[in-house]
C-alpha cells in the first residue's frame, strides 16, 4: 500500500463554536424536499405532479438535457407541493412521507462491468451522487475519468467526521469502492487526514491511500486533485463523498435503495450540536434546539440556517431542508449590527485573519461569528490576502479577473478547470474588498459551459 503525505501550507481554519458531539440520534420527519438548484447546470423536467403517489426510487424529475439522469424520491408518500419562484423556477419539490419506505424492486445486472454499473446507478437515481471535475457537476457518464477521488475528511468549519459516521458500514463502503473503482481505468484515491484516526478507511481494499495535513481547504477534493493529479484540459476526474459510496454499496450488496445519511447539526447557537441520522432531503426544523438570548442581546429569531458549512453552504428557510450533497447544517447568528467608529476598534473579540485586528495575535478558543459583511464592496486590490489562503498552484486574483472580464482563453490557461466555487470560499471570506469570489467563479464556469 502506498503512503504519501501532502502538506498543505496555505489555508485557514476558522475556529467557531458548536462542533457536533460524537452522539448519533435517529431523527424522523414526514416532510422531505428535493431542491433542483443543488445540481448545477441541470434544468429539471418534472415527471410528477402535485398529489402523485411515489415510492422510494420513483423519478421526481430528470435532466432536460439527458433524461437518463434521474432524480428520485428518497421516501414513499405523496408529492405535496411543487414550490415555484420567479419565472416558474422550481425551488423545491416537497414530498410528504407515509413512513413506510416502500421501495422499487432492485434488479442487479448479472455481469458487473462499467456499462452495467452506470446503467444501474442511472436507473435507481444514484448516479447523481457521482460528480466530476472540471465544473463540479453531476458526472458525464460518456467520459472516462482518469481517476476517482474520495475525500475522507472534511476540513471545513464544524464539519462532520466521516469515520464516525461510517462506523458499522464497512461492508457497504467496501462494496461501493469495488463498484466505483470499475468505472475508471486509473486509480481510486482515498484522501485522508494524517492527523486523525483513519483505521476505518485504512482497512479498505482496492484503493490508493493518500495523506494530507494542514488547514482547510486540505479536505476539499479540489485541493487534493491539484496536488495528486492536476486536471489538464480535456481530462476528467470523478469524485464522491464517502457516505454515498456506502449508499451505492448498499444497492449492490443488499439490493436496497436506501437514502439514509448521517449529518452533523452544528453551529454556535445550537443548544444540542450532535449527529443525526436522517433520510436525504429531510426537513430538519425540529432536529435542534436554539440557545436562548445570549449576552449580546441576540434573539433566537435572528438566526441563519445553512445547509452545508458556513463557507460554501446555502441559506435555507425555517423548514431547514438538508441539501442533496450536504453533510451538515450550521446555524449562526444573523449579523448586521452597526458599530460606532468600527474601523477604530482594537478588535479583540472580532474574528479576522488580518493582522490589523489584535484578535489575530491572541489565541482564542473559538469565536461566535455572525453574518455581518463587515464593510462595503470595493475593487479587488489586495492579492496577498488571497494567496495566503489558496493552496493550489493557481493565481487566484488573476483567475477571478479573467472570469470577470469573460476571457475564456485566459480562464482556461489560468486553471479554471481545476477549481469550482468552493475552492474560492476562503478567498471570499478573507477579502477586504468583500468580493463575491464564489459567484464570479460559478459565472465563469457557466460561461464556459454555454460556449462549449
Amino acid at each position: 500500500m502506498q503512503k504519501t503525505l501532502y502538506k498543505v501550507n496555505k489555508g485557514l481554519d476558522i475556529k467557531i463554536d458548536g462542533t457536533a458531539l460524537f452522539q448519533t440520534d435517529e431523527y424522523h420527519t414526514d416532510i422531505y424536499a428535493i431542491r433542483p438548484d443543488d445540481f448545477h447546470w441541470i434544468t429539471p423536467k418534472l415527471s410528477v405532479e402535485e398529489g402523485d403517489q411515489v415510492i422510494v426510487g420513483t423519478t421526481v424529475f430528470c435532466s432536460k438535457d439527458d433524461e437518463r439522469i434521474r432524480f428520485v424520491s428518497p421516501v414513499s408518500g405523496q408529492i405535496e407541493r411543487i414550490v415555484r419562484g420567479e419565472k416558474r423556477h422550481i425551488n423545491h419539490i416537497i414530498i410528504k412521507s407515509d413512513g413506510k419506505l416502500n421501495s422499487e424492486t432492485v434488479n442487479l445486472p448479472e455481469i458487473i462491468s462499467k456499462e452495467t454499473i452506470i446503467d444501474t446507478l442511472l436507473k435507481y437515481g444514484l448516479w447523481t451522487f457521482v460528480r466530476q471535475r472540471p465544473f463540479g457537476c453531476i458526472a458525464d457518464y460518456h467520459n472516462s475519468p482518469k481517476a476517482i477521488f474520495i475525500s475522507c475528511f472534511d476540513s471545513a468549519p464544524l464539519a462532520p467526521d466521516y469515520q464516525f459516521i461510517l462506523n458499522g458500514y464497512e461492508n457497504e463502503f467496501q462494496e461501493g469502492i469495488n463498484i466505483l473503482s470499475k468505472l475508471t481505468g486509473g486509480k481510486t484515491y482515498l484522501c485522508l487526514d494524517s492527523k486523525r484516526d483513519n483505521s476505518f478507511f485504512e482497512r479498505t481494499k482496492n484503493v490508493d491511500l493518500q495523506y494530507f495535513s494542514g488547514p482547510h481547504p486540505a479536505g476539499n477534493v479540489g485541493t487534493q486533485i491539484n496536488r495528486i493529479s492536476p486536471i489538464n484540459k480535456g481530462e476528467y476526474i470523478w469524485y464522491i463523498e464517502p457516505q454515498y459510496v456506502a449508499t451505492i454499496g448498499r444497492l449492490f450488496l443488499n439490493r436496497q435503495l436506501d437514502f439514509t445519511k448521517t449529518i452533523a447539526v452544528t453551529g454556535p447557537v445550537v443548544g444540542n450540536p450532535r449527529y443525526v441520522k436522517i433520510i436525504n432531503g429531510a426537513s430538519l426544523k425540529d432536529a435542534f434546539t436554539l440557545k436562548a438570548v445570549d449576552k449580546s442581546g441576540f434573539e433566537t429569531d435572528e438566526t441563519r440556517f445553512i445547509s452545508g458549512n458556513i463557507l460554501s453552504g446555502h441559506k435555507v428557510d425555517n423548514e431547514c431542508f438538508i441539501g442533496y450533497y450536504d453533510q451538515q447544517i450550521t446555524i449562526i447568528k444573523e449579523g448586521g449590527r452597526r458599530r460606532v467608529l468600527g474601523w477604530m476598534y482594537p478588535g479583540l473579540k472580532l474574528w479576522s485573519n488580518s493582522n490589523t485586528y489584535l484578535s489575530k495575535f491572541i489565541t482564542r478558543k473559538s469565536y461566535n461569528v455572525d453574518t455581518t459583511l463587515h464593510g462595503g464592496r470595493r475593487v479587488m486590490m489586495f492579492s496577498d490576502t488571497y494567496d495566503n489562503v489558496f493552496p493550489m498552484d493557481i493565481m487566484p486574483m488573476e483567475l477571478l479577473k479573467a472570469c470577470v472580464t469573460k476571457d475564456i482563453d485566459k480562464m482556461e490557461e489560468l486553471g479554471i478547470y481545476e477549481v469550482t466555487e468552493e475552492d474560492f470560499a476562503l478567498c471570499e471570506v478573507v477579502c477586504p474588498s468583500k468580493t463575491e469570489c464564489q459567484q464570479i467563479i460559478y459565472d465563469g464556469l457557466t460561461l464556459i459551459r454555454e460556449q462549449a
Binding site: 476558522i14 467557531i16 492536476p230 489538464n232 480535456g234 441563519r304 445553512i306 458556513i310 463557507l311 460554501s312 449562526i332 444573523e334 449579523g335 448586521g336 449590527r337 452597526r338 458599530r339 460606532v340 468600527g342 474601523w343 477604530m344 474574528w351 479576522s352 485573519n353 488580518s354 493582522n355 490589523t356 485586528y357 461569528v369 455572525d370 453574518t371 455581518t372 459583511l373 463587515h374 464593510g375 462595503g376 470595493r378 475593487v379 479587488m380 486590490m381 492579492s383 496577498d384 494567496d387 498552484d393 493565481m395 486574483m397 488573476e398 490557461e413 489560468l414 486553471g415 470560499a425 471570499e428 471570506v429 478573507v430 477586504p432 474588498s433 468583500k434 469570489c437 464564489q438 459567484q439
Partner: protein, 386 residues
Amino acid sequence: MSRIEKTSEKLTRKFKTNKGLSHFYALFDAIDKFLLTPDSTTIRGSHIRDSVDVKRLMTTVMIALTPSLFFGFWNTGYQHFLSYGIQAAFWKCFGFGFLKWLPIVLVTYISGLAVEVFFAQIRKEEVAEGFFVTGMLIPMILPPEIPLWTVAVATIFATLFAKEVFGGTGYNFLNPALVARAFIFFAFPSVISGDSIWIADKADAFTGATPLADVALGNISSLPSIKDMFLGTIPGCLGETSTLAILIGAALLIVTNVASWRIILSVIIGGLAAGFTFNLIGTTPAMSIPPYYHLLMGGFMFGAVFMATDPVTSPHTNSGKLIYGLLIGILTVVIRVCNKGYAEGMMLSILLMNVFTPLIDYLSIQRNINKRVSRWNSAKSNKNSR
C-alpha cells in the same frame, strides 16, 4: 437597535428619497459609513466574512504615517527657528509646523474629496477610502512653503486624471499622490525646487539646502551628520525627513501585513547595490558617497515604505514585487547620481515602475500559464504515444 442606528436609518431614508438631498447621497453615505460600520449581511457565497475591510487597512496606513507626520510638525518649526538662530521650545516648533501643515492638508482634502464624492455620486458607488491616505500623503511630500493654489490644482489633476478617468480607486495604475507631486514639479518647477523653499519662512541668510542638493552640487563636506539625517533634523518635505519615524511606521505596516515587506526590503537593497556600484566607479563626488547615505537623504525611505507599497499600483506576485522594488531602488540612485538637474529620483522612479507593473505581472502570470500549458501538452503526448 440603538438610538444612533435609528437616527442614521431615518437620515438615510431622507437622503435617498428627498429630491434635493439625494444629490448629496454619496457624501452622506461616506460620513454615515465613517461613523457607523455598515449593516449589510452576506447574501450569496460564504456566510461569514472577515472583520477586515478596506477602511481598516487604510486606517492602519494612516496610523503608520503619524510618527512621520508628528516629527514633520516639529521639524518644520525647528528648521524655521534654526534659520534665525533661535532655540525654540518643543511645543512652539510643533505648533509652528502644525499651522504650516493645516492649510495644505485642508486644501488637499477639500479639493480631492470634492472630486471623489462627485464621481461616487454620478457612478452611484460608495466613496472609496483610497483618497483618505492620498490626501494625507500629498502634504507630506511637499515643501512647507508650497502655494496653496498649486496644491489644489495638483490634487484635482491627480485625482481626476490619475484615478477617476480609469474608474476610481483600484483601477489606477499610477500612485495618485506622486502624480500630484510630479504635476507640481513639471508645471510649477519654481515652487518645488531650489534651496529657498525647504524651510518655512526661512531667514534669507541661511542656506537651507537639502542634503540631496548638496550632493548634486558636489558639496559633500557640507552634508549634515548621519545622526541628523537619520533622526530627520534636516530641511526637506514635511513628512519625509526622519528615517527613524518612517521606520516606526514601516514596522506597523509590516506587522499588520498591510504593506509588503518584500517591496520595502528590495527597494533598500536596490538602492544600496546601486550606491555601492557607483562607489566602485567613483569619478564624481556624488558617486563616492557611502551607499547608505542614499537611504537617509531625501524621500528614499518615505517612498519605499509608503509610496512603492501601494497595493493598487505595485505588482501582485511575490517575485514581481522583488523585481519592482529592486528596480525602484536602483533607478532612484541612478537618477540622483547621474542627473545634476534633478536631485531627487524617488518620485520618478516609482512612477516609472508603476507603469511597468502590468508588464512585471504579465511575466509572472505567463510563467504560471506556461507551466500549465506544458503540463497539458505532455499529458496529451503521453496519451497519444500510448
